[in-house]
């Protein structure tokens, strides 16, 4: 038994030494970093959205609206279209951003700005899981990964390797920041967090109603977001994104802890059931995003 314990201890030491070697190796070789630590990606444009937000927030300390949510939001809501309505807005949505991830992104935003409204785009596809890949997106593709909020985000998952990744990329980005352009994305990052789809008109397959329940971590995160908004004086608004199949979103009424909050149903947008506005059953094409953003801006401009 003692022999096994000794051997296992030696193995643990060897693994630690191996880990140290991978840090050194990854510092000099993209290939080692790719295979042993994780690969950066431009998908979803988090690498561009966060740095731009930090600069933008310096001149917009009291913006009108901050958006949080998943890809239905960053592909569907163009902040530039809100300018005509006199609303200064920024889109902090990202790929598969669940409520559990949004709470950290909101913290990051509230450290730099005091928005008048926070709009959460509630796509039901990211309800029943905390969606840790979204957390990873903010660690691997973010020059501000060393910010305590993002470090906390990584450690909150309880995954030891993810915590190590957060520390590694924190160190790496301080020495070698991500370049503005990363290979691998066909998307068109327009600015202020909005990504315009380059997709043409497609046949839209009928979508299925997602009736999943809100995951425990997302429920807790929602409570946290509501409290954080109340504390900072921001109005929290719930937004149901438009989809080709979904009618009015009655589920929006049933979000626990949301009593008294303002709700906007994207399915009330007149074009919400026009297939040519979408490239699949819930993501808007560029044309759809413009029209939807105009409609949403007029809704938010109303007091």
């Amino acid at each position: 038994m003692l022999r096994l314990a000794l051997r296992f201890s030696v193995f643990c030491i060897a693994l630690t030494a191996f880990g140290a070697c991978t840090v050194i190796g990854a510092r000099h070789s993209d290939l080692i970093e790719y295979w042993l630590w994780g690969n950066s990606s431009a998908d979803g444009s988090t690498n561009l959205r966060i740095p731009e937000f930090v600069s933008w927030a310096e001149t917009h300390t009291h913006p009108d609206v901050i958006f949080l949510g998943s890809s239905t939001c960053y592909r569907g809501i163009d902040p530039a279209r809100f300018d005509a309505h006199g609303l200064s807005t920024y889109n902090l949505c990202s790929s598969s951003q669940s409520l559990a991830a949004s709470r950290y992104v909101l913290d990051f935003a509230l450290e730099r700005t005091a928005p008048k409204r926070v709009v959460i785009d509630l796509y039901k596809g990211v309800w029943n899981s905390p969606c840790y890949p979204s957390f990873r997106d903010h660690i691997l593709n973010n020059n501000f990964v060393s910010d305590p909020t993002f470090q906390h985000m990584a450690f909150s998952t309880g995954d030891p390797f993810f915590s190590m990744q957060a520390l590694y990329f924190s160190w790496k980005r301080s020495a070698v920041p991500l370049p503005p352009l990363l290979p691998g994305s066909a998307d068109n990052y327009v600015g202020r967090g909005f990504v315009s789809s380059t997709s043409g008109v497609k046949d839209i397959q009928p979508c299925e109603m997602n009736r999943s329940d809100l995951h425990r971590e997302n429920r807790d995160a929602f409570e946290y977001i509501a409290q954080a908004c109340a504390k900072s004086g921001a109005e929290l608004i719930l937004l149901a994104p438009p989809m080709t199949c979904e009618g009015p979103a009655p589920w929006l009424e049933n979000v626990k802890g949301s009593a008294g909050l303002r709700r906007i149903d994207g399915n009330d947008w007149p074009e919400s059931k026009t297939d040519t506005m979408y490239y699949d059953d819930h993501h808007l094409r560029a044309q759809g995003a413009q029209s939807y953003s105009d409609w949403l801006a007029s809704k938010l401009a109303q007091k």
């Binding site: 038994m1 022999r3 096994l4 051997r7 296992f8 193995f11 060897a14 693994l15 191996f18 880990g19 991978t22 295979w35 042993l36 630590w37 994780g38 840790y132 890949p133 990873r136 998952t157 309880g158 995954d159 030891p160 390797f161 993810f162 397959q205």
Partner: protein, 475 residues
Amino acid sequence: MLFNSVEFALFLPLVFGVYWLLNGRLRWQNAWIVLSSYVFYGWWSWEFLGLVALSTLVDFGVGLRLNPERGLSTRQRKAWLGVSLAVNIGLLGYFKYAGFFVQNWVDAWAGLGYEMDASTLYIILPVGISFYTFQTLSYSIDVYRGKLTPSRDLVAFAAFVAFFPQLVAGPIERATRLLPQLSSARKFKYEQARDGLVLILWGLFKKVVVADTCAGYVTMCFTNTGAHDGSTLVLGVVFFAFQIYGDFSGYSDIAIGTAKLLGIELMSNFKTPYFSRDIAEFWRRWHISLSSWFRDYLYIPLGGSRVGRFKAVRNVFAIFLVSGFWHGANWTFVAWGGVHAVLFVPLLLRGKNRKHSKGVVAQGRVLPGLGDVAAMGWTFIMVCAAWVFFRADSLEGAVFYFERMGNGLLTRPLISRSALLFCGIMLLHDWFHRHDERMPLKISSTPLRWLAYCLASWLILKGLGTPTDFIYFQF
């Protein structure tokens, strides 16, 4: 509790430590196995622990009744065996197949123009029920046949039924192998424990690194079949072949390795099946504990191949169709079993089903001959074709997948570099370990071996973040 989770990484050292602290006190060690196993199972769902306990008590009681010393008549003994069969198959039938039969009944009437209320039963499938019911059944049948003396030790018997390393996804152990080990004193052996740890490491690599990496590509192909070219869909099936092998054989390796840590030897479940030269050899190497279960308790009692040609063919279809149905209440699994039966029957009729029953391909050589390569390639293609039925959600989905595979077959497929690399590593490893699959990562150079241990551990850690269920949990 999943093997590929942080919880299990904490659970196993605790179980191991206390278990060997109790060394020399057999009854306490077995009681600790029972307690640990119930915690392990209850972590997923404590509500279904009652089923494990029920199966244990019924078969323990039936075993005592079947004891020859009681002098029961053949009729009475058959009746008691019937109780065991009724309870175990009844549990399996209700929890696994009731919804399926109700739905098919409703569909059949709908086909005749009669609309019935389709409020079908929605029954949660208790994890591992197909495995532990078969394991306990083997006990009752072996006692009935007089191959095994019934256990008088309820704690040892409960440990046999609920032994956590193989409780939820096998290997389906035989009472004749496992019970005697649980009924006798165990001694800690360094070599056995070391081999167990290496098996766990290799099993985790196969699951977390290979299978989970392939899973994304496979899901993309099977959930959005219409959007991809034939070449991508072909690659999707190949990746599924490696995904299910990595997933299930990985689970078996972890189970066997964990049991070794506790001084228990479990049977092999996989022996490099993708190096089989025909379907008969494939089935001697794939999910061995299940195929040998069906052979011993269904195929041979039906007469096996030593009956007339018609009956032999019937028996082959029976065993493959039942085996398919065992995997799940869906016609896709039945079709999968049927495809394998169709592939097996010609070998049986030509008397070639035992051609490769001994040894491994390229025995004593590094590289196979051209004939072997062709035979392995053809068998792999056939196995992959059958996997389409296994993976598809419905028969229509499988047919659609085949149709789409013919569309754009020569175009450049989407490539997943990581899936290709990890499948390649697993395949290469299997080739060099095809003589003894229970001794993975056997590299003669010590520094290289330790480098392999560290690299594998690192990649496992990297992939552990979002643990995914083992595919065979659903069966």
